[in-house]
């Protein structure tokens, strides 16, 4: 029973990490209709900025805030400098550019930050909590991760569902010309969409790094599972991203705990194929368009 509970708790924490990354992907997809493959290295860069500050004696929380602000600036710069020139062309152009950016940022980070593993501190405890005499697989930092991801999800739902800004962002993403005719300043909102997505991506980078070792490639495995989580949720839904991340984390935790850790990647692929077979647009996708 204890193993079951611990496997479940470990899965929830892991799932929230995937959900954090998936939320960043969903945010950029919702606000610009681009799948950003460079999300992971962008988050990695901002995490290293935080690490440099911490190693130079600054507080964790100052570094945390600086990383998020750096994420916003990096996202805005990437949109203006890299993506904007190909906007209006085939959507695949922007996606390919993000793949190129993935490689460039990776290489640049290795030059600037080095490629050795470095320890990244956690804001809260990373030892399992005690319940009576038993230690459970839930840490203080794990609880912080869960709460942070739930808060981001709630904020994104509020933004997109209840605010004028969220409505404008969605309109700009879905139909730029109509949005312009309705008075929406499309260019600014695309920049804002990239900036916000990069902030959420930076948060995911910090949550993943907390209490572990980081190198320029530390996000690479999370990329795969984060993408799977986002696609499971339907790529368009913040709630879907969290449900997708959570389901994937729990499932993979049980596969790792009860079947064998070497089968985790295979299990992720099997889950993705099963969901796409049953619901090709993901679990939380809206119904398909009616032909008229």
């Amino acid at each position: 029973m204890q193993q079951f509970v611990n496997t479940l708790l470990g899965g929830i924490t892991l799932g929230m990490v995937y959900a954090a990354f998936a939320l960043a992907l969903v945010l950029i997809w919702r606000s610009t209709r681009v799948v950003n493959f460079a999300q992971a290295p962008m988050a990695m860069v901002t995490t290293f900025i935080a690490l440099e500050l911490i190693e130079h004696g600054q507080s964790y929380w100052l570094a945390f805030v600086v990383a998020l602000v750096s994420g916003a600036v990096l996202g805005a710069v990437v949109e203006r400098v890299v993506v904007r020139p190909v906007e209006g062309g085939p959507e695949l152009n922007a996606v390919i550019l993000t793949l190129g950016l993935f490689i460039v940022l990776h290489a640049a980070a290795e030059v600037v930050f080095g490629n050795r593993y470095r320890s990244f501190p956690a804001a809260f405890g990373i030892r399992g909590m005690k319940v009576g005499d038993t230690t459970i697989a839930l840490t203080g930092f794990g609880i912080f991760t869960i709460l942070a991801v739930l808060a981001v999800m709630a904020l994104l739902v509020l933004l997109f569902r209840f605010t004028d800004l969220g409505l404008k962002m969605r309109a700009a993403a879905f139909n730029q010309e109509v949005a312009r005719l309705l008075g929406v300043r499309v260019g600014r909102l695309l920049t804002l969409g990239w900036a916000l997505a990069a902030v959420v991506g930076s948060l995911s980078g910090l949550l993943i790094a907390g209490g572990s070792l980081v190198s320029p490639s530390y996000m690479d495995t999370v990329v795969v599972y984060g993408f799977v989580a986002a696609v499971l949720g339907g790529l368009d839904s913040p709630v879907g991203a969290v449900v997708g991340g959570l389901s994937l984390g729990i499932a993979l935790s049980f596969v790792s705990g009860y079947v064998g850790s070497q089968l985790v990647a295979l299990a992720a692929l099997a889950i993705l194929m099963a969901v796409l077979f049953l619901r090709p647009d993901g679990l939380f996708a809206p119904a398909r368009e009616r032909r008229v």
Binding site: L167, N175, A179, R180, L181, G183
Partner: protein
């Protein structure tokens, strides 16, 4: 009042409008008619700045629109309903309508929404539905309703009858006639369905190969068999 003079516009090396000029009088419907490729849609897109004019002037009231960005037009009282309807199908009916009223003060938006729902009760019934489930006629009503959310003084309407059943077209044209008569709305109506357009228009402009070839009161054009046969084919 909307006044165009000497407007020319191109797509690359191809000139689509040549020295176009006419006036759309306030509180009236001006029908812009002509065959496929005559430049009707380009004309509306040039008025709203989606296509930049090579030369000429587009004045709306005392404002020169050729130097005004498209995003500013709703704030000036100009609404453009593009060809192909322009419904954002991923949003709900109510979200589409909210988009139309974004430039308006928060306090008047519910009032505008009530007004649109009173004109199109069907939209109220389906306010929470995603727009992709709407039929063609319902989508047309939605985009007109969305344009009305901004309380425009001038409505540019591109092919509202395209692909719709005659009964729905009649319903939409009746409604437009009512809006002009009751609210004093100025409408520039681009239509291939000349017969329907002339039934509600006060003035008619006929384009041929990007040039204005007729600019007359609509009833004069409707009665002139020679002009109708020559340019409108009926």
């Amino acid at each position: 009042m909307l006044t165009l003079s000497g407007v020319s516009a191109s797509y690359g090396a191809v000139r689509a409008l040549h020295d176009v000029g006419f006036t759309a009088p306030e509180g009236k419907v001006t029908a812009v008619l002509g065959a496929n490729g005559a430049g009707k849609t380009t004309l509306l897109r040039t008025i709203s700045g989606l296509v930049r004019a090579d030369s000429g002037s587009v004045r709306f009231g005392d404002r020169e629109l050729t130097r005004t960005s498209t995003e500013r037009l709703p704030g000036l009282g100009l609404a453009h309903v593009p060809e192909g309807r322009g419904v954002i199908t991923e949003l709900t009916v109510e979200e589409n309508l909210r988009l139309g009223g974004l430039g308006r003060d928060n306090r008047v938006r519910p009032e505008r929404l009530d007004r649109v729902f009173s004109l199109f009760p069907m939209l109220e019934e389906r306010r929470g539905a995603t727009a992709h489930v709407l039929s063609g006629g319902e989508r047309q009503m939605l985009v007109i309703g969305r344009a009305l959310m901004a309380s425009p003084a001038l409505l540019l309407l591109d092919e509202p009858s395209l692909g719709l059943a005659p009964r729905v077209v009649a319903q939409i044209f009746d409604l437009l006639g009512g809006l002009v008569a009751d609210d004093g709305l100025t409408v520039v109506l681009v239509e291939q369905n000349a017969r329907s357009a002339l039934s509600i228009a006060h003035r008619a402009v006929v384009l041929s190969l990007g040039r204005v070839v007729v600019d007359e009161p609509a009833d004069v054009l409707a009665r002139d068999d020679q002009l109708r046969h020559a340019y409108l084919g009926f």
